[in-house]
């Protein structure tokens, strides 16, 4: 389901009540609040991590793509270049004459393009999967306005068919799964490798820090206000948040505290180990959140759905906060009324960090097209932004906001070989992924139906294994 905007105008109001987009984060490291050894709330041995990632890359073949246009993800473009992958890593990126390891698969990329694997910082795949039946609706623990104790990974259904579409049509290799936005504090997110597994742990991005989902504005106040509970206003939103942060600070200082799952997460945020992803539309509200974060002592990593970021691009740049945005969604709710398609380009032009996100199981299949539209809208108003820079919005900048930019998000030697070979310019509507590698493993190949993932849910159903 379209988590934030709902789909039909008709179904929208009802959908919003149930399915609110959100954000959170995850990772392989614990962000245990305190290293205090005063309590032993788990049976894990020292150094063991709860719900640790069990992801391991499948065996890969050294591969070279030559004669190809390269967008490196950090804003550079190389024409007629080569990329060499070996041992699951990027070995080299350069001109046409790069040496290849013995036995490497050679791919002629003439007329084609490569980019880093696309990264979506805002997805609800797995927690609001397809089919969108009530039994699968696990994205919002909408029973309390703050649920910092919940972890999105415990809702992830690894058989969501959406993962396969995100790869085959969108070139998605990593994605952050967030709790929804019914709550002011929705819980921890989890960052996944887009590689099917029997378990959620098997998809967890090793070493990725956790994220923490927060939500401003209409959703929390509507969900709880409609039940006669606090918050029912924006000032109520802030009051609940501030008290929660104050309590978290007190928890950290109290050496005799009783172990509290939620406060452990909040402490992780205050220590900078857990990254805040804050659903927030309006410019004025983002400015209030920035001050709240200063008061509480944490940092906002990214504002998501930030349709009004263009109004405070300077403030966001100064505070080093990314804006994760759609190209052109608007009008589905009051706080999305001032959205403009030039938002991303205006932010980039002001030197602020831009990420193109989806919050949608269809949009995630076309983040490249969303970037292309946002780029074109910017150019039409006279802003000068390169194609390669627009690709950065879905790769390096996204990786940075997830805290995984040292591992993936650009084509640099030593990084994970997460890469897409496009059958044309990825900024054209006519182009699609031809091959997708994760850690150097070919996991989608348009030319080979056996490299087309089919989830358990689809197996044996009409259309299983079809082109999608």
């Amino acid at each position: 389901m379209k988590t934030e905007m709902g789909k039909t105008g008709a179904a929208l109001a009802a959908a919003l009540l149930i399915t609110l987009g959100g954000c959170a984060a995850q990772g392989g490291k614990t962000a245990s609040a305190s290293d205090k050894t005063d309590k032993h709330p788990t049976a894990l041995a020292q150094g063991e991590v709860a719900f640790a990632s069990t992801y391991a890359a499948y065996p890969s073949t050294p591969t070279v793509v030559r004669n190809v246009v390269i967008y490196d993800g950090e804003g550079a473009r190389i024409d007629n270049g080569s990329v060499v992958m070996s041992g699951g890593e990027i070995l080299a990126v350069g001109d046409a004459n790069l040496a290849a390891p013995a036995g490497a698969t050679e791919i002629d990329g003439a007329g084609k393009f490569v980019t880093p694997g696309i990264i979506d910082v805002h997805s609800h795949l797995g927690v609001y999967p397809s089919p969108a039946v009530e039994a699968h609706s696990d994205g919002n623990e909408a029973t309390d306005p703050t649920t910092p104790d919940v972890w999105a990974e415990h809702s992830v259904w690894p058989q969501d068919p959406g993962f396969s579409r995100a790869m085959a049509n969108g070139g998605i290799t990593s994605l952050q799964i967030l709790p929804g936005s019914a709550n002011l504090m929705g819980g921890r997110s989890v960052t996944l490798k887009n590689v099917y597994s029997r378990t959620a742990q098997g998809m967890k991005f090793p070493g990725a820090p956790y994220g923490f989902k927060m939500a401003c504005g209409e959703n929390p106040k509507r969900v709880y206000g409609s039940r006669g509970r606090k918050p029912s206003t924006r000032m109520g939103n802030f009051a609940v948040n501030r008290q929660t942060w104050a309590d978290a600070r007190a928890y950290r200082e109290d050496k005799d505290h009783k172990y509290d799952l939620g406060k452990e997460t909040l402490s992780g945020v205050l220590e900078g180990k857990i990254l805040v992803h804050n659903h927030c539309y309006r410019a004025d509200e983002m400015a209030q959140v920035i001050d709240m974060a200063k008061e509480a002592g944490y940092k906002v990593t990214a504002f998501h759905h930030a349709v009004e970021s263009y109004k405070i691009a300077d403030l966001l740049r100064e505070n080093d906060i990314c804006s994760a945005v759609w190209a052109d969604w608007w009008g589905f709710k009051m706080e999305a009324y001032d959205a403009i398609p030039e938002n991303a380009a205006l932010l980039d032009n002001a030197g602020a960090c831009v990420i193109i996100h989806s919050d949608d199981q269809n949009g995630i299949q076309r983040l490249n097209q969303e970037a292309a539209k946002a780029l074109a809208d910017g150019r039409r108003m006279g802003l000068q932004i390169s194609d390669a820079q627009a690709i950065r919005w879905l790769t390096f900048n996204a990786a940075k906001a997830l805290g995984i930019e040292k591992m993936t998000g650009s084509l640099k030697p030593g990084k994970m070989a997460d890469m897409v070979l496009w059958n044309g310019d990825p900024l054209s509507v006519y182009s699609r992924p031809e091959k997708v590698w994760v850690d150097g493993v070919l996991l989608y190949d348009a030319d080979d139906p056996s490299r087309r993932p089919v989830s358990d849910f689809e197996l044996g159903q009409p259309g299983a294994g079809d082109v999608k």
Binding site: S130, I340, M381, D466
Partner: protein
């Protein structure tokens, strides 16, 4: 664009278009165009289109330019008919989640089939201006269901900047017959079919009493009723209205033109089985003029849809099993249906149907892109553009008047900066009914106000 007499007449005669002749229309001759006519044919290089009295006077290669026409040199750029949004709710919604501005459905109304969206369509909605700036000039506007499988009657509109948006009021009735229909009917598809049959029976009875012609069901001569045909008692006509009527008189009356085939019936179904069961309705109600809407699994029964001659307005890019009625969804659906001979256009079904009509070219472009994907079935560029222009008009029965650049059709014309299906392109000039349109809207104003975010000598509120 229409006088009181016309309004009165169309009130009486459902389905007739209001004549549109803008008073301020100039004569334009756009020359040197890469001319797309909207019928699926290849673009004409160095083409000309002449717009006069609000209509296309001529379009093609060797077209004479009338004296006095304002000449516009397209310089080789694309000139096309405006986009015709195949299924939408534009003009019914300003902000979806603000209920006072959302007229798509009526949860507490006693009426269903009789609901006519025409008076609710508000051409000053922001989405009109935003869509217009993106080259959308016409749209199919449908109500949504609330308390019945019947949503009511939809209209065809133009997106011009005036208060006369409705081109064809009551152009169709919209009904849900899949999962949503089952829900509205009380909980099952069987109930939806019972409700449908009962409603048409009541309409026929109502029509008979009112001496409306053609109210009969399909018991054509020589056709024996098969075992799947309904009990005859379900079809019989009574002189008086029976006691067990479920429809208001108003709703029954509204379904008479559906029963008689004078008004199209747009049926939303997604699954292959629901599609076939919908096509079966023609066996009982022979005059129905069906149009399938959605049809995500249409490709599985494409031959049978083609055989029925029923056209389809489909979602372009559905490829997920969002529900159990679209398990086999694939982006190749439209291409495969078209290859099987189905007339198919692109619509916004369960999509951002009020605000994002501007996605139509992107959706069409994606189907063109599928041609390069092994195993997928896409559309040629020419067919893809037709699927968002001429084919929509043809399916809605207005192909002579809209959606095409041909003599006599409305002067809905767009001059594009580049390939209209490409993401980097945008309209440079737009005409609707021969009147050049402003491309301004509040998104443009906001953009300009915040070109630099900092406040200047005065607050932003003073910049406009």
């Amino acid at each position: 664009m229409s006088g009181p007499l016309n309004i009165l007449r169309t009130t009486l005669l459902a389905g007739l278009a209001i004549a549109t002749t803008p008073l301020d229309a100039q004569t334009y001759a756009i020359t040197g165009a890469k001319l797309v006519t909207g019928d699926g044919s290849a673009p004409v290089e160095n083409g000309t289109v002449v717009i006069q009295n609000g209509k296309v006077l001529a379009a093609g290669s060797n077209v004479a330019v009338p004296t006095g026409a304002e000449r516009i040199d397209a310089g080789g750029k694309y000139v096309t008919p405006g986009i015709f949004a195949g299924f939408s709710r534009v003009g019914l919604v300003e902000v979806d989640a603000v209920s006072g501005t959302n007229d798509t459905r009526a949860n507490s109304s006693p009426f269903n089939a009789s609901i006519d969206v025409s008076p609710a369509i508000n051409p000053t909605d922001s989405a009109f201006a935003v869509s217009r700036a993106a080259g959308v000039t016409r749209a199919v506007v449908s109500p949504a269901t609330a308390t019945s499988i019947f949503a009511g009657q939809g209209a065809l509109v133009d997106l011009g900047e005036d208060y006369d948006a409705v081109s064809v009021p009551r152009a169709f009735q919209f009904v849900e017959m899949g999962e949503a229909g089952a829900r509205e009917a009380g909980g099952s598809r069987a109930a939806a079919h019972a409700l449908f049959r009962n409603a048409l029976r009541e309409a026929r009875d109502f029509g008979s009493r009112a001496n409306v012609r053609g109210g009969g069901a399909a018991q054509s001569e020589g056709q024996s009723l098969s075992e799947t045909s309904p009990d005859l008692r379900m079809l019989e006509s009574n002189a008086d209205r029976p006691q067990d009527v479920l429809l208001t008189r108003f709703d029954a009356a509204a379904l008479v033109p559906v029963l008689e085939g004078r008004q199209r019936l747009l049926v939303h179904v997604e699954s292959a089985n629901d599609i076939l069961r919908t096509l079966d309705l023609k066996k009982e109600f022979a005059n129905l003029r069906l149009v399938l809407v959605g049809a995500s699994e249409g490709w599985r029964v494409a031959d049978r849809i083609a055989q029925s001659g029923v056209p389809v307005i489909a979602s372009a890019l559905n490829d997920l099993p969002g529900s159990f009625e679209m398990l086999a969804a694939t982006q190749s659906n439209i291409g495969r249906m078209r290859a099987a001979g189905v007339k198919v256009a692109i619509g916004m079904i369960d999509d951002e149907d009020a605000h994002q009509l501007r996605y139509a070219p992107q959706y069409a472009g994606n189907l063109v892109g599928l041609q390069k994907v092994p195993g997928a079935t896409g559309l040629s560029w020419d067919a893809a553009f037709a699927a968002i222009s001429g084919d929509v008009a043809d399916i809605m029965g207005v192909g002579e008047r809209y959606g095409h650049l041909k003599a006599g059709a409305a002067g809905d014309v767009v001059l594009w900066s580049g390939d209209p299906l490409e993401l980097s392109s945008a309209p440079e000039r737009v005409w609707i009914d021969g009147v050049e349109q402003s491309l301004d809207n509040r998104q443009v104003r906001l953009r300009e106000r915040y070109r630099t975010p900092q406040e200047g000598a005065l607050p932003k509120a003073y910049e406009r």
